[in-house]
Symmetry: C2
Subunit: 260 residues, 2 copies
Amino acid sequence: MKTQSKKIVLIGAGNVATQLGLSLKRSKHTILQVYSKHNTSAITLAKKLNCESTDLPKKINPDADIYIIAIKDDAIIQIVKQLKVKNKIIVHTSGSSDMNVLETLSKNYGVFYPLQTFSKNTKVKFKNIPICIEASNKETLNVLQTLSKSISNNVQEINSKQRKAIHLAAVFACNFSNHLYSIADQILAENKLSFDLLKPLIRETAGKIKINSPTKIQTGPAIRGDKKIMDAQLKILSGKKDYQQLYKLFSKSIIASNKK
Amino acid sequence: MKTQSKKIVLIGAGNVATQLGLSLKRSKHTILQVYSKHNTSAITLAKKLNCESTDLPKKINPDADIYIIAIKDDAIIQIVKQLKVKNKIIVHTSGSSDMNVLETLSKNYGVFYPLQTFSKNTKVKFKNIPICIEASNKETLNVLQTLSKSISNNVQEINSKQRKAIHLAAVFACNFSNHLYSIADQILAENKLSFDLLKPLIRETAGKIKINSPTKIQTGPAIRGDKKIMDAQLKILSGKKDYQQLYKLFSKSIIASNKK
């Protein structure tokens, strides 16, 4: 990992800003300041990073090399109206926002999208996390490449259309999978069973796709065409309309993908 | 792990029979014979286990202590009609079949359901795999307990109703999750992106539930109520009706579970 120390202002103090700030600091960059409209969040993160904080857009430090906006998509548009960064580099970390929502702020703008799920209190090792970067010009791209390579070995140049596809794929593979875990947890709890029972199976299912195409290793009643079990399982779900519908739709989709 | 060596006949030569046979053999039980209606499958597994094989029900060895039926649910009913095991112990390994489908065969019957996804060629460590057992009487339960404890540290007594709930929960958490990985893979491929990009995120998502309730750590546009992203993502899916429906149903279900 190359290091070329940068002065950075973090705009946002949520999960992504927290983990990114900590990781950049560990890689010897200087976090000058944390901005958040929630003053206590800004202070909490600033303490962790040993830097200044503010909740006023006009007090954002003008001396940084790079401004990183790590806030909700809707809020990006709001903060853009209030920011002045002249020709500094400004990036956002969003999977779904276009790069050019930043174009009014500077000629040097881009995206720095780490493809991972973050919690404030779980330390994240960025080393293997894909970082998807995009930039308005070659010079900015070079800076973002050096910056992202200072914390990750997996840096990818990805355009806005591709980044949106990645985000959508992540919603399916991760957000929706997690909801399936919730449904399973609920089914077990209703039968006085612990969710712990399923954990080895969940681990193995997610582990198998490291080396296998998920389509090729699909298992379960639907892919076997086991109508008897499918009917019996739908019956267990009677009274849970959403889950029945999900069950039917998944079974249909699994059967269809098997025919391709 | 206790070992009290048993003589076992395996009825079936698929993924479960293979991994179970190998594991039981490693734990010093004697696999007397493999039966499969597909002779080549029977021979292949018998070679691995260094035992006899047959494809004729009437040639099934009568001298075993335990007969383990590890075949599809529909096929269980067929083989039951052809078997003669007198008062030996007979069990099946199915998540969805009632225990009493075996009651005509012996007074000593039960279920031995290992809660894991199996492939023929991936060696499975049974040590941490939950084995759900159920038996027609106390003596049989004791034998199944000793047998399952000889290969796993996670043995649970589970009745037929609970076992069906576990199987259903596993279909949601594992079979359906894997299909979500397939959908994600397809979305990425259509945008000339590698599925490798998502693997760290999938690993982290499945890893997080080790210590967290999945309901409490749900992330993504739906739980945030980010309608703008949800609309944009549905638009990307236009032309893929099944995936759009899944997306809508998941979003609805995630939002509903957040209100509980």
